[in-house]
């Protein structure tokens, strides 16, 4: 968790790095990029009947374990997301989505799950590392700018200099950005590296 001051950790929209899905799922979609988080996630799912699970895997070699035989290999992050969206389109209530990989990948796949109609408690995830490069949604032109690595950045859509705010949209998998000198014209806050936090 980023340090949150004056914001309830239970209600902030700034995402966690790790959360388990609600128990009792009837079937499971598992989308991972190879890494320590993925290994831990697969270990936690070892008890799940392989016939009820579909693994979508981004990496050079398939992982060991009971879910490998039915795994589908993705060529890159976009392919992994496409494979997941295809499965979600035919999914039924009762499914759980389990995600692991970099923060940026997990957020994108989470957004795909929410768009398909999943609830937050039906999605579990584990992030390998807090994202260093994140997405920013411009409130003026609605364009998404990525990758962004500091809290003041140019908008890829309208060119405004944006202040990145710690308001996170799970739907867009992006932080909110607005004109950096909106309060006092010409007064630009100092840029900080890393994820915006209060």
């Amino acid at each position: 968790m980023p340090k949150v001051v004056g914001v309830s950790p239970l209600h902030t929209s700034v995402p966690d790095e790790h959360r388990a899905a609600a128990g009792g799922g009837a079937c499971h979609l598992v989308a991972c990029a190879a890494g320590a988080a993925a290994e831990q996630l697969l270990a936690s799912l070892a008890h799940v009947d392989p016939r009820t699970a579909q693994l979508l895997w981004l990496g050079n070699a398939l992982p060991a374990g009971p879910h490998a035989p039915r795994a589908l290999l993705a060529a890159d992050g976009g392919h992994l997301e496409a494979l997941l969206r295809d499965r979600l389109a035919h999914a039924r209530v009762g499914v759980r989505l389990h995600l692991a990989g970099t923060d940026a990948l997990v957020r994108r796949l989470t957004a795909a799950g929410l768009e398909a109609g999943l609830h937050d408690d039906e999605i579990g995830f584990a992030c390998d590392r807090k994202q260093l490069a994140y997405r920013v949604a411009c409130v003026h032109c609605h364009a998404i700018t990525e990758p962004v690595e500091t809290t003041v950045a140019d908008c890829a859509g309208c060119g405004r200099l944006l202040l990145v705010y710690h308001h996170y949209s799970r739907r867009k998998a992006a932080y909110m950005g607005f004109q950096a000198d909106a309060e006092v014209r010409g007064e630009i806050p100092a840029a900080r590296p890393g994820v915006p936090c209060p």
Binding site: A22, G24, V93, G94, V95, G117, D121
Partner: protein, 321 residues
């Protein structure tokens, strides 16, 4: 605040359910309401007052009449019997304006509605609204003896093919065992009916992987268990109020002149939650958490009673007259 309404029509819906159509006394529009709303009907039984909540079982958006459906509770406390036996067309009743504790899930992309017996009532307004909007849904109802058959006919006319009537609970559960695993993502399950039926459907859904965030429950007749009389004390050293076997603690407090805020009067909303300074509450609500119950420091007087008295209530604030 209450509204005065005239009983404009009455009909039997089967299974011991009587429908009353209510219009505003002196004419004029009734307040608008959303699907899942209820009104509280004030019933005067001699010196006792019953405030019974009933779902509005009619088309939302119309302001000329409300319809409620009242099931006769054989061993009840007289409120439903009064509405069956004493109230006639032309009589005037006092009701409180509609409130909603069971609104349709706003983000649902599809609704699976499950009703038992007279529990069909909130879904009448649901189906009117969903059918008007062309929103996908299916309704399953179980009821013996043709309970509420006219309401089911009304809903079938709105959305033929989406209304499934089952003769009993076993057939209902068989139908749901088929339907639950086939719901697309984004579906919400809403339940209204007797507690055993809702428990059974809830267990079936949980076994199919439905998380609690997708399941919504409208309870009625929460207060179960023996109705023993007990004493409640209005603050430490305050006067004692005898709570009779035929009334709730909330009713006894109101009889004593206290103005306790309330909404649902069935242990759901927590509006009437009152502090407890002494005695052991017998919690019968579904509002307090297990931890809150364990501390024994508050009670919902609309349904909960007393395990060991006298129950000393913390009425130091606004409720005192």
């Amino acid at each position: 605040m209450t509204l005065e309404v005239r009983v404009a029509a009455a009909r039997e819906l089967g299974g011991g359910v009587r429908e009353l159509t209510l219009r505003r006394l002196g004419g004029g529009p009734l307040p608008p309401f959303s699907p899942g709303s209820h009104v509280v009907v004030h019933i005067i039984l001699g010196e006792r007052r019953r405030l019974n909540p009933y779902s509005l079982a009619c088309e939302p958006g119309r302001d000329d009449a409300y319809r409620i459906a009242v099931r006769r509770v054989a061993d009840g406390r007289g409120g439903s019997a009064f509405l069956h036996d004493e109230v006639a067309v032309g009589d005037v009743l006092a009701i409180e304006p509609p409130r909603n504790l069971f609104a349709p899930a706003a983000t649902a992309r599809r609704h699976l509605l499950v009703a038992g017996g007279v529990g069909i009532t909130p879904f009448v307004a649901y189906v009117h609204r969903l059918a008007r909007d062309g929103a996908p849904f299916e309704l399953h109802h179980s009821g013996r003896d043709g309970t509420c058959a006219p309401l089911l006919d009304e809903l079938r006319a709105l959305a033929r093919g989406a209304v499934h009537a089952h003769a009993n609970r076993i057939e209902l559960l068989a139908g749901l065992a088929h339907a639950l695993p086939r719901q697309p993502l984004g579906t919400h399950l809403s339940l209204c009916g007797p507690a055993p039926m809702m428990d059974a459907v809830g267990a079936l859904a949980a076994a199919q992987g439905w998380p609690t965030s997708r399941v919504h429950v409208e309870r009625f007749a929460v207060a179960e268990g023996p109705m023993e009389p007990f004493d409640a004390q209005l603050g430490r050293g305050g006067p004692l109020v005898r709570v009779g076997a035929d009334e709730t603690l909330l009713e006894a407090l109101e009889r004593a002149g206290l103005d306790v805020p309330y909404l649902c009067r069935q242990g759901v909303c927590g509006e009437c939650r009152t502090g407890v300074l002494g005695g052991v509450p017998d919690h019968r609500d579904v509002f307090l958490t297990a931890e809150e119950r364990a501390t024994g420091t508050s009670i919902t007087p609309c349904v909960s009673r007393c395990a060991s008295g006298p129950l000393v209530l913390d009425l130091t604030q606004e409720a005192m007259p």
